[in-house]
């Protein structure tokens, strides 16, 4: 399936891009992250702390993805 991936803050800086369109053979948000780590090894160190949103909702690694979903990965939030 094809999904849109947005990256924020340190993850955006690690990859050098704020948005990727990814053709993806897996099922879940966690599998998508693993695939991104393979393409962008600089992401690996963020795995323990990074959060996931699917279609603008906070999500877990187990969240199944669908064609056209908007996925976002980001470090712990620090607004305010």
């Amino acid at each position: 399936m094809r999904v849109r991936v947005q990256l924020f803050s340190l993850l955006r800086e690690a990859v050098g891009s704020d948005e990727l369109v990814v053709d993806f053979g897996g099922l879940t948000a966690g599998e998508l992250w693993t695939e991104l780590e393979q393409r962008f090894p600089a992401l690996a160190s963020f795995r323990p702390s990074r959060a996931i949103a699917v279609n603008r909702q906070h999500a877990q690694e187990s969240q199944p993805l669908s064609e056209g979903d908007e996925i976002a990965f980001f470090p712990p939030v620090s607004g305010g």
Binding site: R56, V77, G80
Partner: protein
Amino acid sequence: MYIEITERAISTEDALKKLDLKGLGGLVTFSGIVRPTDIEGRPLSHLEYEAYTEMAHEELHKLCQEAAQRWGVHQIAIMHRVGQVEIGEPSVVIAVASEHRAEAFAACRYLIDTLKQTVPIWKKEICML
């Protein structure tokens, strides 16, 4: 209920203008102001804030709905800066009005605490060269 994520300067006064105080008796505001040093005391030049804007709007809207359910407060304004924010400027302003003060205090405190935990906005500290 008013939510704004903006590159322009914000103030307590701006947030107050978004509230309809008619019939209400308690008004509480919070402003988070950029401090001149980081957590280890090093001098900062300024902060840069970045948001996942669409999701941040939705999350803030959810927080307002939770505050409405828990405390019956409906007059809420939340403004958050993105981009470069200078030392001494507010990065976030929250204003809450309610019939009685306890609810406005509780909701305002909940909103800023939860904003910092769940709303997709990130701060970057730019150190003095």
